[in-house]
């Protein structure tokens, strides 16, 4: 069970790659595919490694990511 989860809004993504650069866990990569605007959108490559830090979301200029994080035990 991963500690976090990132979900990519593929249609919003413009493939700038800033999230790939910002992710400390190497979770994200280019999909090699194109969305309807013609951008090589980002996809979640290694979901198991996601820690839910939210860095990818913060650097994304298109608010194309939603990030979840596992709640701490006992909270």
């Amino acid at each position: 069970m991963p500690r976090g989860k990132v979900s990519v809004h593929e249609e919003r993504c413009k493939g700038c790659g800033l999230c790939i650069e910002a992710c400390p866990q190497g979770v994200l990569s280019f999909s090699g595919d194109f969305n309807s605007s013609g951008y090589d959108y980002v996809t979640v490559d290694n979901p198991e490694d996601c820690v839910g830090c939210g860095f990818c979301g913060k650097v994304c200029p298109d608010v194309a990511l939603t990030v979840y994080k596992k709640q701490k035990e006992g909270v």
Binding site: G15, C16, K58, C60, P61, D62, V63, V67, Y68
Partner: protein, 257 residues
């Protein structure tokens, strides 16, 4: 992914990052890797967190910010090029109960609107100004702006900006900090998570200064324009850190709050 699958996948998890309420669902039309999107989101998040969506009026002029009204879920005024600070002053003087922000690029704030920008600051008008400095005119095709760095090539300085022809880059934040009118002037950047967090704090502080009636706050934000800089977004971020920041150092320049 279906809603059901997402729900299952995120069971026991909390959303730590999502679209702020003060933005609608409209896709930004900024270029890939452009920092306007990040800055717009930070402003929207701050509006949400301060609970001022209902009584905030934004004003953004000509340039890449011209579509601000399309994606902010607040009232927006679109004035003439350069006039944003004066328009924001007009709104605020007519309705001091509203939170008013001006969103201006470097051409707008530092060139055609310098007179208006300067005097709004000097009057200490109780408004919040965001000055997005990407060192050139983005919308019209990458021409030199007053903040273009020396030797930077633009479509109107094909051999690089030379001081003898165009003077050195103008440092608006430092210049305005020489005035007695403003309350808070800071320069920030959004090229990495740490800077983004700091910028968010500065934006929040700037809005608070207004809600507390403390006067004029200016947040200059160094911004990347990968397309007109001819760089990929990652390289454009590096340029800010390695080059632009040297001319426009980050941090608070004036704080009378």
């Amino acid at each position: 992914m279906s809603k059901e699958a997402l729900a299952e996948d995120t069971a026991g998890m909390e959303k730590v990052f999502d679209r702020p309420k003060s933005l609608n669902n409209q896709q930004f039309s900024y270029c890939p890797g452009c920092h306007h999107g990040v800055i717009n989101r930070l402003i929207a998040e701050t509006i949400d967190e301060l609970g001022i969506q209902d009584n905030t009026v934004g004003t953004a002029p000509v340039g890449c910010s011209v579509f601000l009204y399309k994606w902010f879920d607040i009232d927006v005024i679109q004035p003439a090029h350069g006039r944003v600070s004066a328009v924001a002053t007009g709104v605020k003087r007519a309705r001091p109960d509203l939170n008013v922000f001006a969103y201006q690029g470097d051409g707008d704030f530092a060139s055609i609107g310098t007179n208006n920008s300067t005097h709004a600051a000097n009057r200490g008008d109780n408004i919040t100004v965001f000055f997005i400095n990407n060192t050139l005119y983005g919308m019209t095709g990458g021409e030199m702006s007053p903040t273009t760095l020396l030797n930077q090539k633009t479509t109107t300085t094909p051999k690089g900006r030379k001081a003898k022809d165009f003077g050195p880059p103008i440092k608006m934040s430092e210049m305005l900090s020489a005035l007695d009118g403003p309350t808070y002037i800071t320069r920030q950047a959004v090229y990495d998570v740490k800077r983004i967090d700091q910028t968010k704090k500065a934006i929040k502080k700037a809005f608070r200064i207004q809600t507390e009636g403390k006067g004029y706050a200016l947040v200059e934000i160094l911004s990347a324009c990968p397309i007109n800089w001819g760089m990929d977004p990652v390289k454009a971020n590096e340029r800010i850190k390695e080059e632009v920041e040297n001319v426009y150092p980050l941090g608070d320049i004036l704080d009378r709050s």
